[in-house]
Symmetry: C2
DNA sequence: CTAATTTTTCAATAAATTTTGAAATTTCAG
DNA sequence: CTGAAATTTCAAAATTTATTGAAAAATTAG
């Protein structure tokens, strides 16, 4: 497989994967493109390489910046803005986990907490059954949240460790 | 909040969450409905409670069975099929993780492995840079896969433990 | 400041996904 | 077997989501 072909393949696959996980396909593709670009890219570069419109490129680049996965770069003597993706894959994973936790898990936990306080006789089997199920889910979600934090902390050095091993 | 209202709220929120994670909203809602139903439900029950068509209900129930989250139940003396969701939230999470790993992570890993074998001079900076980035992602994905398995094993008793504590 | 260049916005359009519902198929009690 | 009841299929329709592109706004070199 030639390099250009391989790059296209990667962009394609990263897009499919992102899409399956509820992330806009184009956003994932822009991310992939920046991940495998050695030099920073301008909006025009992204438009050209992915065959997308200016509006679309702009939208997704800004979205990636919101996620903390891409940064703006100013090239002195150039009017255009350039963009680079964080190449540290551990940082990438951590940022994505943190964002999704904040945007999706936390709101769900909030709802689950509210649902615990359902009105009525606590001994009514229907109510008991409902609060028990919700309680279990809530407890699990809370646990999962802590586990994620633990993983993030515990594995923080994984990347570093793989370098240490390399030099041993 | 009344029980009925709380149930609706849960179904709604579970649907939104599923949708954000790339799971069909209705599938998540059917799952939610079955999770908080004490008794097994028929296709007609699901249709009625969620206001969806027969075809849609049938499709999503079968999809949930494919995921191993819902089981068919035969009620003797009744021609209809009934369905129940696995209420063990740990089982639910494990099944979802396992399915997604198999359906999405594994294919991505396969692609990444192929991309490592790009043609050309290994000393060419462009090729070196690409294979390095891909290599890091591949290594990370492999690590993540193992971590997931480890968590599943290590946390297997979390649910059991929360019962043990309860009886202490 | 001015004007050229770049970025952002957003209504219209296109694409992708989901849903419907009726017909075809399957199942099973009698 | 038979036929009523239930399940499955699938093309068409509806809905949701993503994309375009041109106009408006913002930026900056001179």
């Amino acid at each position: 497989m030639k390099l250009q072909e391989a790059k296209q393949q990667f962009i394609q696959s990263w897009g499919v994967l992102g899409n399956q996980w509820g992330i806009n396909r184009t956003m994932a593709q822009v991310h992939a493109l920046l991940l495998i670009s050695e030099a920073p890219l301008s909006t025009d570069d992204v438009m050209e390489q992915l065959n997308i419109s200016r509006g679309n490129a702009n939208l997704n680049i800004r979205e990636l910046m919101d996620w903390g996965l891409v940064e703006k770069m100013i090239v002195p003597g150039d009017r255009k803005e350039y963009f680079v993706a964080d190449k540290d894959i551990w940082q990438v994973a951590t940022r994505i986990m943190a964002q999704r936790k904040k945007r999706e898990l936390d709101p769900m936990l909030k709802v689950l907490n509210q649902l615990q306080e359902v009105e009525g006789d606590k001994k009514d089997p229907a109510i008991k059954s409902f609060t028990e199920t919700i309680g279990n889910i809530r407890k699990f979600a809370g646990h999962a949240e802590k586990t994620i934090d633990t993983i993030i902390k515990a594995e923080e050095n994984w990347f570093l460790n793989s370098f240490i091993k390399f030099f041993k």
